[in-house]
């Protein structure tokens, strides 16, 4: 770009007054901006809080002597839930980006399994832990790249391209496990297992006595960091802003100087990368790579993105919203388990909640469009 200024030079006569306007409205604008972007997330957050309160009340201990905390809100349970959402929370970061770009990726579950296996395989071959982790991440990114190239360059629909990847990646995992036999945690270096196990600076408070036992501290840290970084980047990074334009109107984006094919490809690489990360962490936690890892998680993750405000048409959605979607779904699941709802019913309830949320979103959007 030749000149790096936002306003044309001829604007000099009006610059004074318009910047004065901007100055005056600056504070309000900031607030308005925040509200517009965060309104949907705020709504999700309110629901999360409401659900938490319900389950908190429902799981309060019977005895009068110890009225607080409830089972649901006990520090250990909160930690356990945090550990429980790590895989989905990481996947949701990449998925949101792809969805905002107007596509989706149903291969994340399989990429997760394959990356986990690749990482474990590398470690089994005697490579040091960091290299193994890197190989896992690279495998994920490579699968994402292949998805991206088929969608963006060849022009296959995302559904078909990623469905193909879903089957191929899962198939490779089966082939390996059949050919080479299962992976034992003994084959893996202790430093790898430490990623999944280690507490805060390796400190492992014994038993449930500690206020926070911080098992899997680093997994939680990595998860939250991924979500946070993903959110900030998707919101603010110039390069990722292009994803919103692409999802908003692909042709217009191309005519606005956005290299749509490249942006599309990169969105898939990012999902692949997040799937790889989730796969590596999963393998680290369980010391193995299994065939079932991440099976069926893709639709779950897409649903959580939508619950969090992403639109499958593209152009809308935030990582934070999707993360709240993950939190919401998992709060409901855990809460239902802890209030003793039989597992069979949970599918019904979570499924109904999904449709309910999307209906709600559509209704609100209609109302707003009418306005």
């Amino acid at each position: 770009m030749a000149d790096d200024h936002s306003a044309p030079p001829r604007d000099s006569t009006t610059t004074g007054e318009s910047s004065a306007v901007a100055e005056a409205g600056g504070g309000i604008t900031g607030a308005a901006l925040l509200n517009m972007a965060r309104l949907r997330e705020f709504a999700t957050l309110l629901i999360v809080i409401a659900v938490v309160i319900v389950f908190h009340v429902k799981t309060l201990p019977q005895t009068q002597s110890d009225p607080f905390p409830s089972v649901f809100l006990s520090p250990n349970n909160i930690q356990a839930m945090l550990r429980g959402i790590t895989t989905e929370a990481i996947l949701v970061v990449g998925m949101t980006i792809v969805i905002v770009g107007g596509a989706f990726d149903i291969s994340v579950g399989s990429i997760l399994a394959l990356s986990g296996l690749a990482c474990v395989f590398a470690l089994k071959c005697g490579l040091p832990t960091p290299i193994g982790v890197l190989i896992g991440l690279l495998t994920g990114s490579l699968c994402g790249l292949i998805n991206g190239l088929f969608v963006a360059r060849v022009g296959i629909s995302p559904l078909i391209a990623t469905m193909g990847m879903m089957m191929v990646a899962r198939g490779l995992v089966i082939c390996y496990i059949h050919a080479a036999g299962p992976v034992r945690s003994d084959d893996l270096p202790a430093s790898f297992a430490a990623i999944g196990k280690a507490g805060f600076y390796g400190v492992r408070p014994a038993g449930e006595g500690g206020f926070l036992n911080m098992q899997g501290f680093w997994v939680m840290v990595v998860t939250l960091a991924t979500v946070l970084v993903g959110d900030v980047l998707l919101r603010n990074l110039r390069w990722l802003r292009q994803v919103y334009y692409m999802g908003g109107n692909e042709k217009a984006a191309a005519l606005s100087g956005i290299n749509v094919a490249r942006v599309r490809t990169v969105t898939f690489v990012i999902t692949g990368l997040t799937a790889g990360l989730a796969g590596v962490l999963n393998s680290a936690r369980y010391g193995t790579a299994s065939y079932e890892a991440g099976q069926g998680i893709e639709l779950q993750v897409i649903a959580e993105c939508v619950i969090g405000g992403a639109s499958l048409v593209g152009g809308q959605g935030t990582v934070l919203g999707a993360f709240l979607g993950v939190v919401l779904v998992n709060c409901i699941k855990t809460g239902l388990t802890q209030t003793g709802v039989p597992p069979d019913w949970r599918f019904v309830i979570v499924g109904a909640a999904l449709v309910f949320f999307v209906t709600l979103d559509v209704l609100v959007a209609k109302r707003r469009r009418g306005a």
């Binding site: 356990a80 429980g84 098992q215 936690r285 855990t334 239902l336 709802v341």
Partner: protein, 400 residues
């Protein structure tokens, strides 16, 4: 911002909240619920408690994938054994782990937090154990919660070595295939006859209609044996079942059989469980000088398995061993194979209503029963009407 809450568009969240309230209030107080999909089981539980009024000392939870036929059988075995024989044990929760470690961990964590005094956790499928063990470890309650797993996949063995799983109930897939293929070979070459086959030469030895290959308790002591794909069965079989090894060893040569194909059709074949099956198939086919073939859908999909069976029938193999994912779904297909003159024997899971010639395998129900006994022993629970020290008798590995 809060003004929004009263707008009609914000009705949705409140409706959801209301819905959640109603649903969860339908479940009375927390802790009240033994939680089972089967209402009848629940009713039975209360009946038993009412009758004996024994103090429920041990709270136990179950991790399974509801709706999968063989798993439901095992759960039934667990529950009925606890009910009949161990009145002190109470099943307080049942979770769906979706046969995935991470889901199992998440769900088990929820249960562990809810029941701080949980004494045991039973894993019903191969993924349940490691998932639950992880949750127990995370909660810092290793050693306080007894985990009994199923099968002998490496993660299960790893956890047994690490001490996070106390024991596992392993099946003898190697035995099933070994004996199954021998039966099929014998039937094919008229060296053996089917149990109720009147037309065959009555002087021929008949095969057993049902063979229980039994289950083995995997503990820290014997875990090493299970590290090989044949799960130690290859070495073990001569000791435990010398009659199986002798079977057909003196057979007369009936011409070239190297083109005969013996097919095993598994289900969820992506999992490690089938490695021992493959090993057994390979060994027995090498012994008999025939061709082995292993197939089956990678996922838990009985319909796909039925299609697979159809394809196999078209190949006209010498015999088929099948582990039906759902006995009802597979029944007509098995019957069709028999009509086509192909011998079919069920392994792993039986399809009793079909015309299969025999069943060689573990009773899933019995696996559950065995798990229950192991659990009770580890917990130190008293048998109904018996003294505390008599709660063993779990090892049924020798039974035929």
């Amino acid at each position: 911002m809060f003004r929004n809450m009263t707008r009609p568009s914000m009705l949705g969240p409140w409706m959801l909240l209301l819905g959640t309230l109603i649903l969860s209030s339908g479940c009375k107080k927390p802790g009240d619920l033994p939680a089972g999909p089967d209402a009848a089981t629940g009713a039975k539980t209360t009946a038993t408690t009412g009758a004996t009024a024994v103090e429920k000392k041990f709270k136990v939870a179950i991790s399974t994938r509801p709706g999968q036929w063989n798993l439901d059988e095992r759960v039934r075995g667990y529950k009925e054994t606890f009910e009949k024989e161990y009145p002190e044990i109470e099943v307080v929760a049942e979770i769906d782990d979706e046969t995935k470690y991470e889901v199992g961990t998440r769900e088990a964590s929820a249960v562990l937090e809810k029941f701080q005094d949980l004494a045991g956790f039973a894993g019903i499928n191969a993924a349940s154990g490691p998932g639950v063990a992880k949750a127990v470890e995370n909660a810092g309650r290793s050693g306080k919660v007894v985990v009994v797993a199923m099968d002998a996949d490496s993660p299960v063995l790893d956890a047994i070595e690490a001490g996070t799983i106390q024991a596992s109930v392993a099946q003898r897939q190697y035995y099933m295939t070994y004996l199954g293929v021998k039966y099929l070979y014998g039937l094919k070459h008229k060296l053996l006859r089917a149990p109720d086959d009147q037309s065959a030469d009555s002087r021929l030895p008949a095969i057993a209609a049902e063979v229980d290959t039994g289950t083995v308790e995997v503990t820290k002591e014997n875990v090493v044996v299970f590290r090989t794909p044949s799960q130690g069965a290859k070495e073990d079989i001569k000791k435990t079942h010398p009659e199986w090894v002798r079977l057909l060893s003196d057979r007369k040569v009936v011409g070239d059989t190297s083109n005969e194909e013996y097919v095993v059709i598994g289900i969820s074949t992506g999992v490690e469980y089938w490695n021992a099956t493959r090993e057994g198939l390979k060994d027995v086919c090498a012994e008999l000088g025939v061709k082995p073939r292993f197939t089956g859908p990678e996922d838990q999909n009985p319909e796909k398995q039925a299609e697979e069976l159809d394809n196999v029938i078209a190949r006209k193999p010498a015999g088929i061993l099948i582990a039906p994912g759902n006995p009802e779904t597979l029944k007509p297909y098995i019957d069709r194979a028999i009509e086509e003159g192909i011998n079919v024997i069920c392994i792993d899971t039986d399809s009793p209503k079909s015309r299969r010639l025999a069943y060689v395998g573990t009773s899933n129900y019995q696996a559950g029963v065995m798990g229950a006994h192991i659990m009770a022993k580890a917990l130190g629970a008293k048998r109904a009407g018996e003294r505390a020290d008599d709660a063993s008798g779990a090892d049924s590995s020798g039974s035929l």
